[in-house]
Amino acid sequence: MCYSIQFLRNIRMWLLAMTVAIGMLPNAIAATPTELKSEASPHPVLLNAVMCEDVQNQVIINAGVVFPIAIGKISCHSAFDLIPAKIPIYHNWYYRDELSTKIKLLLIPPRWSTVSTIQLREADKGPWRVEITGEDGQVFKTLRFSITD
């Protein structure tokens, strides 16, 4: 039973990731100088990362850490600056420490925003986290949230 739920969940998430994780918002980020770690960093710098109900027209809708299952989907928005070249990043979605899906997103210099979204089902209630990592496994940020009734 658990395996079948997991299988369905993976398929669903991959489909959604392919369709939704194209929300690239090249000019939507207003970088704050204090948020930049290093001007000369060979890695991109994460400016902002939030969980939200949706991203519409480059606007984050209802960012938070607890989301009701009724909203149907949930998104992870991440914005980068100082991107040295076209490089991939990953949104790794974990349900209770178990990798649920790993979504690859492309960053384009010099600034780029990415969004990955998953569809929610009844079995998805509980604590989640999304690790935003680079290609080399460097963790930019871990976002923790819950799906509830």
Binding site: G64, V65, V66, P68, P127, R144, D149
Partner: protein
Amino acid sequence: MDAIFYFLKSIRWQDVIDVTLNSYILFRFYALFRKTNVFKILIGIAALWIFQQIAVSVGLIVTSWVVQAITTVAALIIIVVFRNEIRSVLQTRNLKAILWGFSQKSADAPAQIIAESAFDLAKKRIGALIVIPGKEDINEAIQNGIPLHGDISREMISSIFWPNNPVHDGAMLIEGNQITEVGAILPLSYRQDLPSYYGTRHRAAAGIAEMTDALVIVVSEERGTILAIKGSRIQRVLKVEELAAVLQEHTGTRDKEKKSSRRDRIETGAAALVSLMVITGIWLIVARGFDTLVTLEIPIEYMNRNPEVEILDASVSSVRIQLGGSGALIRSIRSDQVRVRIDLGRSVIGSNTFTITNENISLPPGVFIKSFQPSSVDVFLDTPTVKNIPVQVDWTGKLPENMRIEQVTVEPEKITVVGGSQILKTIETVYTEKIPLDSLTSSRSLTVNLALRPASLKVGPGFRDKVVVNCVIQEKVFEGKPR
């Protein structure tokens, strides 16, 4: 045939020792107390006990109760009434005699006393002349004998032949167990073939021997030799036993003693056999009969654990064992006498499955395993380690529709957890206990417990198993405006 084979196979060495030891104890009781009143009473008590057992087995409640009471009282009576007899039996024997010796029939029979006395006198070079009549009357042949009619004893014989005793030169007559006459004068022999060194005492001895069928013992004052003379035969005697045998031969007690000795041996053998049978019977009834079952829950003990490794989890903590055996043994069994041990000597880090067999279960003697569950146990072993792990809130319930939790901080953000390395390797988050959302309407701080799973995980030193959760609650935005 199979049943007999199975029965013989089921006999343990402890059973053999049990039966042998108790049979010997019973036999020793017989050997020590036979021919005493105590023994007769003991037989009576044993009979009562058997009667009581029969009464119990056929359901005669009152009878068995009465007989039991009588048996108990009789046991007390035997100790009180026969205490002196018991004491005399135990006090007059040393430990070796109590454990091994047999009460001999009087070793001081007349023949033995006479023989020993003769050799005592010979050793002291005191002359003596002792006449033991045969079937013929010798009163016609002897003269001037002084009647004594005293019991035979070594002291008496020595004193009669003591050189200063007025009657020491005469002959002593012994009939049965008594010294009948002393100082008697015997007729001298006129034989020419007697050695020249024979004096009057020897010639007198030879004289009475020639005239009658009496046996005469002569102790030489000069040479310290002892002669036994009967008829014309003169025999030099060198040992006490030899003289005693000659005397017994003469009096006809040798055959009687042989018969008596044989009867004693048969009686002793029979007593040993009866003791063995009685104890075997009791053993069969008590230790083997009336199988009873009992079920015990025995915790599993793990042996030979590597000290660097800890048991983090086990599929079961105890084994349910059904034991069989006699009612008496089963009733007396204690749970600490039954042990289930599993050897972790060959275990590895991670999951190990051990099959539980009869060899893992140790039992007290006389009890056997009917069944047990489970037949295997899974044990998870790991080396203890520590890890800093982020804490995440586990929300549950439903927020009001127009509210959202914008931000949550946890103090501390991370905690140190102690546990098995294999387990901690898979754990990236420590969750709080579930926090209900329904009552949250505004930003606040909450203190909540951590939900450490599996239970083998512990909070590290310096940390509590509670964290403070600060949550910021805002109104939701609908179409760009808060509702």
